[in-house]
Symmetry: C2
Amino acid sequence: MEEKEISKAVISRLPRYYRYLGELTNAGVERISSNDLSRKMRVTASQIRQDLNNFGGFGQQGYGYNVKYLRTEIGKILGLNQSHSMIIIGMGNLGQALANYASFEKNGFLVKGLFDVNPRLDGREVRGIPIRMLDELEAFLKENPIEIAALTIPKTEVLRVSEILVKCGIKAIWNFAHTDLNLPEDVIVESVHLSDSLMRLSYNITSYRKEHGES
Amino acid sequence: MEEKEISKAVISRLPRYYRYLGELTNAGVERISSNDLSRKMRVTASQIRQDLNNFGGFGQQGYGYNVKYLRTEIGKILGLNQSHSMIIIGMGNLGQALANYASFEKNGFLVKGLFDVNPRLDGREVRGIPIRMLDELEAFLKENPIEIAALTIPKTEVLRVSEILVKCGIKAIWNFAHTDLNLPEDVIVESVHLSDSLMRLSYNITSYRKEHGES
């Protein structure tokens, strides 16, 4: 497959393909046409064909897609054929939710460490993983090869924690703090800003009402 | 201001402007040029001007933007000048995280009810709001005007719960379940798919490594 620049929009849609193909696999579907996949996913068939053509196609004219094969290939593109070691920093409700989310592991994301600053949590376990105190983070990272750090901490803590992470060579951060991270360019950041999402919902409610003459 | 179709990309950036303008307000900044805002937000100044021109501009040539005014106006566009009543269904860690997230309230999102199916949670309170059982949902919605339902439930429960919500006239759903909702077109859905986000991170790690010759 030729290497070329894939647009962010295409990349952002790949996990959704992966998810739908997983559901189809579970439902025992072996082959699906782009038209059927299109109806199911509520995107146009031409969008599906275009998106997948970025990676070489995968479909045979007239035969549709082999669901299992396509899912595996998209998984490879997404890097899900390799395991990814992860730590979670911040064991509030959100951190605990992530630590308890078993389906991450099915996709190769392995939680190796949990950290917090609250001494009452010290040594408590989530799914067998002990919660460590933040001042153990550096030593932990020296001994354990960790790829991804999930940050579920208040934004006031972000600077301090991300400095430790960068210093210890962490190259990927999954950021839930309500602020953007300004880190060196070789650190990959994926942010989940819940407030931003809620505001988009609010925007859509507001503009729907305007269109329909409600106030 | 003329009504026109605003692109999804622009809308998705508005909450980020709102967030930065909030930080600037807190820092006591009264006025900012699009160039300074551009550096801070790491987007081009021309993008900022283009985005804001969708709503009539807000800036005076040579004077930059009035931070407080711009924030208020963007807040209005996002519908944050009105309050939005919300319920949260699913009081696992993620639901509790949302229920505890006080900053939603600052933006007018008022949590009015919490629901779960676990009898052990019945009557327990989060920030003074009692957790109710799911079988009380319909009666609750008849008595309380609720705009947004946040779904932090397993995907196996989504169909059942969303049917109740639609039947009771809920028109906006903030969906955290790991599946898309197929609802009537007049129901606005904003989904936060955490796994999709983690897969995007994984994709970026994988493609960064390819580019840099690591395996």
